[in-house]
Symmetry: C2
Subunit: 105 residues, 2 copies
């Protein structure tokens, strides 16, 4: 079994300062050891029809599901979640054990 992944894709509300939200997220993951890695991206590439208004993807990787659970119940995460929830217009969230089919050479 590979890593456990937490994937969040969102569309932010129009008046939101996205850089501040992302800075908050970067601080959060740096403070919580159970987060193995964190990366994100802003889509300005794909077809609008297929993007469906979503603009940002955030991926966190954990060594195991228990580490993810520890993250979600961490007081700093709960605090940040309130800020994050207030900033988004729509969201899809997926949590799953990741299966690596093709590894980087």
């Amino acid at each position: 079994m590979g890593d456990f992944k937490h994937l969040v894709i969102v569309k932010f509300k129009e008046d939101v300062v996205v850089d501040e939200i992302i800075k908050g997220m970067a601080n959060l993951v740096s403070e919580i050891d159970s987060v193995k890695s964190f990366e994100w991206g802003h889509d300005m590439e794909s077809q609008e029809m297929l993007r469906q208004g979503f603009t940002h993807a955030f991926f966190m990787t954990f060594n195991k599901k228990e580490d993810f659970t520890a993250f979600t119940s961490h007081p700093k995460h709960l605090e940040f979640s309130a800020t994050f929830s207030a900033a988004i217009e729509k969201i899809v969230l997926l949590d799953f054990p990741s299966l690596l089919v093709k590894a980087p050479a």
Copy 2:
């Protein structure tokens, strides 16, 4: 600049044999060198409300955007896309340069 990512999240149609689709995708990425890595997951964890019916996430990583473009225009990808499109009930697709904020230790 980090890797270029292609993220697809889907809900499959009810009568689809998902294993066959995933096998087809694994074959596809193994045959196309410009795909650096490929991983996927099936969410059976998160809250239904936040998952919004989506069940599967597929991530492909490319060294650069040009490699992604080469992938999307590859004849085998075009062929597979037809099969894939027929199998899905809904989809969100995001393509973006990925920014690594916290790297694996």
